[in-house]
Amino acid sequence: MNLIRMKGVNKQYKNGVTAIYDLDLTIEKGDFVFIIGSTGCGKSTLIKMLYREEKPTSGKIIVGGLDVAKLRNGKVYKLRRKLGVVFQDFKLLSKLTVYENVAFALEVFGLPKSEIHEKVLKVLDLVGLKNKAKHYPTELSGGEQQRVAIARAIVNGPKLLICDEPTGNLDEATSMEIMKVLEEINKLGTTIIMVTHDTNIVSLMKKRVILLDAGRILKDYEKGTYTHEGI
């Protein structure tokens, strides 16, 4: 079943730059998809449209049954509740502890404390940070901070996890740790779309890979067919 369906999507920014040309793409439920390409190829624009940070100029984007292109600003939260987003710079609140950072995502929905407690501990366990719940982000390593960000993104049980260069600030070993966590989450049924520059990781993971170039899909590699030399 399709989780994401994009048809004839164009994106032109107000300054006249066209980032995406006539793009068609479908992603199945439970998939793990890498989006790669050189800087400025439209990777970020593509995923920003998925969580409705950007609106397509034309075309159709369906995410989890919601018509994203037609979604009014006031209704964007409905989409955001169905997905989680992870960034290169983690976007954690430094004044809150690890536990509070993750709980923050549930508090805005008004869940009861006991339910929040249970869910946060479960997800911190999943990313291997249960013992650091009371630490502040600044006391953690980069890899650990990213795991907190992932925990926050999935604590609400989203169908889709969007990762915008989550390993961009991390060394190779730490990046692989993050990838393991992501793979674990994917195994539990969450669809993952990850934008990255790191072709080594992409080669090692053996997942579906979409290569973008100048706003178009240059190549769509089936699961396991991508190799570093493929570019």
Partner: protein, 299 residues
């Protein structure tokens, strides 16, 4: 239940935010407090002036003195003329005898002198005491009465009443302008405080949006913060108003300067003023923050 939990979280957050940016909040709270004190003075002044003006207006009477040698028939004619006038609430005729008796009753000296007067020696004049409906027309009506035959002199405190009314009006207008100006300045200051809060919490707002907080969910804490500033800012003015007015009222025994100017009794007047102050504080606070949210919180 869920909405209640979200709301209680928002209230908690808005209090937190007030104390997190305390120096800024203090500036807004002080400004609200000063404004509300002025508003309180203006309200108290306006209501007291209105109260006083109503009392005076009720009391103002045109007294038409009739010719000393007026006959009964001529008196009837004058009465007919007065009846024809517009804008008259009521009138009372008081004959020479009525006035003489009243004066004799009021003092023993008058009594002993007047008791010796014969009817034709009585120098007092019979009067019509006329009350008007609208005090603004009193001058015109006095003139009309003066024009009636056999009316000798007309008195109604000329000049004094008009002056009093115009002074009251100016006091009301000036205090209204001052209050409006102060409210605008305060709303602007609160708006500025909330603007800075919004900027200082940009990251938090961004994350709230990412994790799927609805727009209302994001905006409400800021609006509530303005509300909290308004409520905290109204505490001091309420206390000052209640204790201050009661103290002034007791010190002057309910009357100011002269016996004529009566102050309004503190209860329930002062509690109504207090409620008005808190309400104004809340509205100004919310309006200020709403303006900042509308302008600076682009979602």
């Amino acid at each position: 239940m869920r909405a209640f939990r979200v709301l209680s979280r928002n209230i908690r957050d808005s209090f937190k935010s007030v104390f997190r940016n305390f120096s800024l909040s203090l500036a807004s709270i002080s400004c609200i407090a000063i404004t509300l004190i002025v508003v309180a003075v203006a309200i108290i002044l306006t209501y007291n002036v209105n109260n006083f003006a109503t009392l005076v207006e009720k009391d103002v009477t045109i007294v038409a003195f009739l010719d000393v040698d007026i006959t009964e028939e001529e008196t009837k004619m004058v009465e007919e003329e007065i009846k024809k006038l517009d804008n008259i609430e009521n009138y009372v005729y008081r004959s020479k005898t009525d006035i003489t008796e009243e004066m004799m009753d009021s003092s023993d000296i008058f009594g002993s002198i007047m008791s010796e007067w014969k009817e034709e020696e009585n120098p007092l004049q019979a009067t019509f005491q006329v009350k008007v409906i609208d005090i603004d027309t009193i001058g015109d009506i006095a003139n009309q009465i003066k024009g009636i035959n056999h009316v000798d002199v007309v008195k109604y405190g000329e000049g004094m009443v008009e002056q009093l009314v115009s002074v009251f009006d100016s006091i009301k207008n000036v205090s209204l302008i001052v209050v409006i100006a102060l409210i605008l300045v305060t709303a602007f200051l609160i708006s500025n405080t909330i603007k800075i809060t919004i900027f200082s919490r940009r990251r938090e707002i961004e994350i709230m949006r990412l994790v799927g907080a609805s727009n209302i969910n994001i905006k409400i804490p800021f609006i509530l913060e303005g509300l909290v500033l308004g409520i905290i800012g109204s505490i001091l003015p309420v206390v000052i108003t209640i204790y201050g007015y009661v103290a002034i009222y007791n010190k002057f025994g309910g009357k100011l300067f002269t016996q004529i100017i009566q102050l309004i009794k503190p209860e329930p007047f002062i509690y109504l003023v207090a409620i008005a102050l808190v309400t104004i504080g809340m509205i100004v606070g919310m309006f200020g923050s709403w303006r900042a949210v509308k302008k600076h919180l682009k979602i």
